[in-house]
């Protein structure tokens, strides 16, 4: 165990918690999906986000032991566990993003720290700093084509790929966990901007917000 001071960021205290999009919902509204909606947006708030940094080999060993999934070693790799609820994404040659169901991240961090004892690594809990937005629907790809500079053609962006790229005037992590679904990991401070951009760009597709 390293001598890094860590603590559970989720409090037992009854403090009202708001998702990063709460303000955007109030200010810009959230049009409900209709039968004519060709794109649907859904936020997955309060998930556990961890950034793992270190050597691929040591991290891979620890991650396989703790999560039962091997670390995506190839650039732009994205893997999910058997239930499809926990994901690991390559961000850089020594950096990975782990997203787990909300509430699991502190236990996971502790187990990883135990498994990695003595190794050279860093784990940061960034759950409060970013949120996950899902896009679904037949026009989801078209909507992304209007928003990101990255080529999202299925031939270039297969399932199981994830990249960090430019979205409008900000940056997002764009992932494709399945054929029909796209995920955007956005910074909390840019969540409102991203949301409003998506609503505006998705207007022609009758974008709906599932809540």
């Amino acid at each position: 165990m390293s001598n890094v001071a860590i603590f559970d960021t989720r409090s037992e205290a009854k403090i009202p918690v708001e998702s990063p999009l709460a303000y955007a919902y109030r200010r810009s509204g959230a049009p409900a999906p209709t039968t004519r909606s060709r794109a649907t947006l859904r936020e997955r708030p309060f998930l556990g986000h961890l950034i793992l940094r270190g050597g691929a080999i040591v991290l891979d060993e620890a991650v396989r032991e703790v999560l039962g999934v091997s670390l995506p070693g190839e650039p732009q790799g994205l893997v999910h566990d058997a239930e499809g609820e926990r994901s690991l994404q390559w961000l850089s040659p020594d950096e990975w993003l782990v997203i787990v169901p909300g509430g699991e991240e502190f236990a996971l961090e502790n187990r990883l720290r135990e498994a990695l004892a003595g190794a050279h690594f860093a784990i940061s809990n960034v759950s409060g700093g970013q949120t996950l937005i899902e896009l679904e629907g037949e026009a989801a790809r078209e909507l992304l084509m209007k928003s990101v500079i990255y080529d999202v053609h299925p031939g270039h962006f297969p399932v199981g790929k994830g990249v960090t790229t430019v979205f409008a005037k900000t940056a997002v992590i764009l992932r494709r966990p399945s054929e029909s679904r796209w995920e955007l990991v956005v910074r909390r401070s840019f969540a409102d901007y991203t949301y409003r951009w998506l609503l505006d760009a998705g207007e022609e597709f009758g974008i709906g917000v599932a809540r």
Partner: protein, 118 residues
Amino acid sequence: MFHIYCPYCGELREEEEFHPRGQAHLARPADPEACTDEEWGDYLFFRDNPRGIHHELWVHSVGCRKFFNITRHTVSYEILETYKMGELPSFTAEHSRGNSTEAASRQAQVAQQAGVHV
């Protein structure tokens, strides 16, 4: 659109994701205290401005956020190669058409000095 190959991401990415950070391969004097003012000033402020092949440091700032090197032709703006930090260019002013064998042997030498087996 203009694409640049990121050696860490292993694919061509939009130029918008990158940022140039000036001349590459600047060696910081081992002992700054022992430098003359001229040597230190050269290191801090003076950069090459060649007509032809130039080695530059770039960063994939929206992406993997890694620094890497680009060999660029300052007349045609052509990017001749991109290579990772710690590697040596195969295109140099002396070998404008690329001399990978020499670069490879120099690279092996550098790696050997650093105690890395190639």
